[in-house]
Symmetry: C2
Subunit: 335 residues, 2 copies
């Protein structure tokens, strides 16, 4: 086993930086576009693109179901997918704490490449900076993605219409719950795995059947509850959901019960909210159920003209309640 560690010289731009790039990043990210120059030169299939960026500082950087590398690809792929854009090219920028083990960096790079391949995206350029011991916490990654917008598809948080159905593509709260447990401060032992997954395949399958979808949004930080409030505000509509219809993994439900948490406000990294006209809803559910990352998809509610800007939930005990306004999450560094 290698005991080699990242040093400040690895971030100095000279020989050691080149060696790190060759031995870790180029080895894993090998593709015809990966650049040795200042920028990658790329060809796009059309002139309409989507572009997005996300920084990842998840702690711990390894967790059941993934690591910061896998997460950094999924997060950006999913943001592109939410715009109906086929992910094409990505860049990644590493900020590494001095002393970080090289073999763990390689493990992260390997996870990135595996996930990028699954998502059909090429990592074309990168950057490596090294901060002194105690000036960064292990490793931070920022990924940026460019995707080709699908012709005739127009998605936005502002496009929800009264009568539209609200679907979640999977059970909710798994990533947030996983990180909570992985911190080991709680002493709770539960079998929970992050939902972290690249979702372009799932979106592509839906768009192959219909372009009549109004909103796609991945429910990351803040969870499904926050996303529903965002949609309510952006579209000037209300949202009404049924608590009994929200899919929650039994282990996640157990942990949430113990800690008094609502899985609707725990982060997901492989679960989207879909808002679509009622005529499309059943068909979309069928499409989702046939996909590996959509098998737990469920219709959880609908868009209303009443209660503009608010999210109302019919509870399991038959009452109606306002979902709490999203605030600060209880757990920092979830992604």
């Amino acid at each position: 086993m290698s005991e080699k560690k990242v040093t400040l010289a690895h971030g100095a731009g000279g020989r050691q930086t080149s060696e790190l790039i060759h031995s870790v990043f180029q080895k894993h990210f090998a593709n015809p576009y990966f650049t040795a120059d200042d920028a990658a030169t790329l060809t796009l299939p059309g002139s309409k693109i989507a572009m997005t960026t996300d920084g990842f500082i998840v702690s711990p950087y390894r967790f059941p179901g993934g690591n910061i590398g896998k997460l950094s690809i999924c997060g950006t792929v999913n943001d592109l997918a939410c715009m109906g854009a086929k992910p094409l090219y990505m860049t990644c920028s590493f900020i590494i704490e001095e002393g970080f083990p090289l073999d763990e960096l390689e493990e992260i790079a390997a996870a990135m490449e595996k996930t990028a391949k699954e998502a059909g995206v090429c990592i074309v350029a990168g950057d490596t900076k090294v901060a002194g011991k105690g000036q960064a916490d292990h490793v931070f990654i920022t990924t940026t993605g460019v995707g080709a917008l699908t012709e005739g598809v127009s998605l936005s948080g502002a496009f929800a219409k009264p009568g539209d159905k609200v679907i979640v593509t999977g059970d909710v709260g798994r990533h947030g719950c996983t990180i909570l447990l992985a911190r080991e401060e709680l002493g709770i032992d539960a079998e929970v795995t992050s939902d972290c997954a690249p979702l372009w395949g799932l979106v592509e399958a839906m768009l192959a059947k219909t372009h009549d979808i109004h909103v796609l949004r991945d429910a990351t930080r803040g969870g499904v509850g926050t996303v529903l409030y965002e949609i309510a505000a952006q579209s000037s509509v209300g949202v009404e959901i049924s608590q009994a219809d929200v899919p929650v993994d039994p282990a996640v439900r157990g942990v949430c019960g113990l800690l008094g948490l609502d899985p609707l406000y725990l982060a997901n990294e492989g679960t989207m909210v879909v808002v679509a006209p009622p005529a499309e809803a059943e068909m979309l559910l069928d499409v989702l159920h046939a996909q590996p990352y959509g098998k737990n998809a469920a219709l959880i509610g609908e868009i209303t003209s009443a209660n503009v800007g608010k999210v109302v939930m019919a509870t399991e005990i038959g009452t109606r309640t306002l979902l709490p306004q999203p605030g600060g999450e209880l757990l920092p560094r979830i992604c």
Copy 2:
């Protein structure tokens, strides 16, 4: 004066994150492309693009001649410019330490917008993460840029040819020297200002006159010396430069003399190495001298078929010496 500070809630993805985005980032980065959705949707003038990313962790984050915000725009704009790509769109991802003053964050955002405007680039999407106190050092920024490749221009570190002339677009070592002095550990008081500047205007002016340029490379971490070694290796050529012809600001020369440093190995953030056929060299120098960021441009040497992979320097005392192989920089977190 505001005493407000960044809190963990600002990075949690809920209401406080929205407020931060509105009050700081949207306020400064207002443009038609800036997105409230998961990704910005953009139109490109053609299908050939360049894409690059860079993380910035410079310490201190404010220095004479700029701050981390200005630097984060210049670094990425200049990487695109080095490929002959007109910078069009940028994303920025912030990793902020809990407790960072909001008014300083705003100062950084203002510098980014000012520099982006000068460079003709739009900031279209961003991300904000907050790390706990002591888990990041003040603020880190990763920017990613997409630019339109200029038709008929083909630039690469691999395209240098024996006989080509080597030009630097400005005096060397100012950024590295500035950061060194800004750390205040040395107690040296010298009037040195970072060369930090967006260089697309300078490249555009050169490309308007000729497409017959072989290499453009901005001499950031590792300085001009490292870039020349990179070109020597990528192009399988030698490089010969004349020490007397390398422009160095007198204050930088003084500091380097005191500390035994070579300005050729200090970082620049607004200075490029240009390699071009001899027939173009004088004309390019004229073009550069007419530009605000090129007025100190100088022809410093040429590409040789001898000494493949090496950089030879004719010294001011008439001897010839091998420029030292680039290694780790003496100063971490220079950019």
